[in-house]
Amino acid sequence: MNGFANWAVHFFMLDEGPLIWLSDFLIGCATIGIIVALTYFKLWKWLWDNWLTTVDHKKIGIMYLVAAVLMLFRGGTDGLLMRAQLSWPNLHFLNADHYDQIFTTHGTIMILFMAMPAIIGFFNVAVPLQIGCRDVAFPYLNAISFWLFFAAALLFNLSFVVGGSPDGGWTSYPPYVENAFDPGPGENYFLVALQITGIGTIATGVNFLLTILRMRAPGMTMMRLPMFTWSVFITSIIIVFAFPVLTVALALLLIDRDFGSHFFTVTGGGMPMQYINLFWIWGHPEVYIVILPAFGIFSEVVSTFSHKRLFGYSAMVVSMIAIAILSFIVWVHHFFTMGAGPGVNSFFGVSTMAIAIPTGVKIFNWLFTMHKGRVEFTSAMLWAVGFIPNFLIGGLTGVMLAVPPADYQYHNSYFLIAHFHYVLIGGTVFGVFAAIYYWWPKMFGVLLDEKLGRWHFWTFMIGFNICFFPQFFLGFMGMQRRMYTYPAGYGWGIINLISTVGAVLMGVGFLIFVWNVLWSARFGQRDTTGDPWDGRSLEWATTSPAPEYNFAIIPTIKGRDAWWLMKKTGESINGPKGVPFRPIHMPNNSGRPIIMSLFFFIAGAGFIFQWWILAIIGLLGVLVTMAQRSFEYHDHHYIPVEEIEKTEAAAGRL
């Protein structure tokens, strides 16, 4: 009994001190609070029918976003804990083990459980509406993608309070992460959670590739696609090519750890460098997976709020294709210091610099979209306008990093940290915030408050610069990433303190955003027109939020900026008057995706703790739910004409 108690105390990390106890307490309170609230307001059935079982792309998109914002909170808290620890020399707020775990979860969560669901959320929210169709190509698969992501995120976050978090960095290089140096379940959490969400992401890539290729409204040729949809199309292609490489790398490492193979160990003749290659063959395209959709968002926002057509549409498309191709031939720049030789380093250095060319073209095209426009600085536009200088600094320091001999000095230093936060926050996070302000009325039928939006932007943007600009200098001063503390006497203390103040300011910006969401839900301006920004693409032709079937009659597209053209010529989105509605074919909701993801969760836990019975139960459950789907014949329904008429009449569109 005593043995079991000891095991349990260790397993639930009660011997790790007050941080863990506090987390346990907060998680407990939140869980009980949610359960009580759902029961008290009798919302369980509503939750199940409307959200948990939905296959509607709009609702799935919203769920992705909610999850992404929660993960931004988690990852941001990790970041603040790190900044607190580093704010002054020789602090012992966190010990080395805790710090190592926190920087690992910060990176992993921000990339895979914050940036990815945020951009995939907007794929879901906007793409089917922009191309004039009623859902994605595979709505049921779409729900599976979401629930796999959700199960993986849950599993990964559980590591904080059960068994211990991974501590190998988000890149997780062997041989450090092999059992010999890094025993325990932590690293397995990383491998299994990424594997599960990776499967979901590959499915998303296939889904949107097919949606854009096959589901466009008549007349919507490829060269008439809104730029955001183009970016999603190209991103989906990158996902389909890049993510399988991650799947392989993670699987090999997991087999090493769970079954004692020697793919990446040194003692058994394995080759750790091979993992590093595989990881970055996925890892570099991955950063373009999160940045290209942000480029798409900026294209939409800049053109809408300049009240002008996007400048150089074809050049925008060509440069995205060029970026996509180049993104696959630059991965070695992540390890110029691995001794690949001058020929290899030169090639990858120059190919990396070359990415600046198409990216520069895009920057100029955005500038010239604003040129001669009438630029309205709404909150969404502020993020887009703020993106240009911030991303420019990130991109150009990226070019500096692409010079291999210079990189020998920058590698892994705070110069690098500053660089990639400038591109990832200045690019992706700014893009996601722009999209939130831009599409919020379309998602919820309410506008976010502009004044709070401006406060949010300025606090966050200034905080971001105060936090990360000084870090370029820390790099020159010799400070490396992943150091949990540093001695006095290097002159690092004051710069780190400034950086921490900036991080706190970013946290304040985030709180203003949360307040804005809550305030606007209650008092915000309602969007009754469906087109609050005088938009250009088709999503603004629907009501806010769009009806379940999106378009009562699929529109015929006559050119780029389809809705803008229709408004100019006075056409209705429902076509000429008197065209009768027909019953609309829609997919049925299904509870199976969430149940399947539960089995994935169980199997994942089995592989993490090496409890094979659990793993087998989980995998069998996955197989059974898949087989069930194969025998499901009644997976669709028709929305009757009367119901469509009722909905359209309520929106004043008859």
Binding site: Y173, V361, V385, G386, L396
Partner: protein
Amino acid sequence: MKPSGRRVRSLFFIVGLSMLAMAGCDDPKYMPVLSPQGPVARSEYYLILYSFIVMLLVVLGVFVIYFYVITKYRARPENKDYVPPEIEGNTKWETIWTVIPIIIVIALAIPTVAVTYKLVKPPKVEAATTAAVGKSLTIDVISEQWKWVFKYPGQNIETVNYVNIPAGVPVNFELTASGPINAFWVPALGGMEYAMPGMNLKLWLEADHPGTYQGRSGQYSGRGFAHMTFNVNAQSPADFAKWVQTTQRTAPKLTQQAQDQIQKPGLLNKPLTFSSTEPQ
């Protein structure tokens, strides 16, 4: 409401100025990367400076257009009725801003490739140290969890957590690791290279003058990684020769017990010196 980038620009300007100021500051202690103390670090520093200046020109160019556009074309009550023209694109301008970046990339690529090739060879010995022409020293470096072991095969000396080198002589560090990957980095003398198990990478470094330069690990390798620092003591060739002789005569031999202590994960509280490289 202010144009959103103005603050960024002024911030960038101020920090850019202070950066130049600090680059001019001669204390290598604070900005080792920007005050190189050897030929390798110096050629890397020139590349950093060159690429920084080129990028600064790009930043300034883009910022001029940026601020022009967002101030001139802001929506104001006066231009409420202005209807922006629908402009498809402009081939001439689009060609210009494709060609200029291409030229910039070429201008950056040529010295980059040249220096990348140059750094795999030993640095040229400069006039001040003619005594050392043609000489070089090889030191094997092994990263342990979490310490640095230096073996002098020619001198039969082993040091832990510090290394002595002759100033003005190119030193060939041969890097490997026992256990996780680390990166061997002495910012004042030159950029880093990975120390990896089962591999043997070369890194040429040279110090101009006698002095002590701090080195550290540049690649996370676990709990004690932040403490993996070591001193590189560059001595005049005569002093170095004297140190070698004294060490060979007076330092203890490496014992199996000491070897085990070094290989056990953990930190050492002081540097060690031995007069043999294999346990006796």
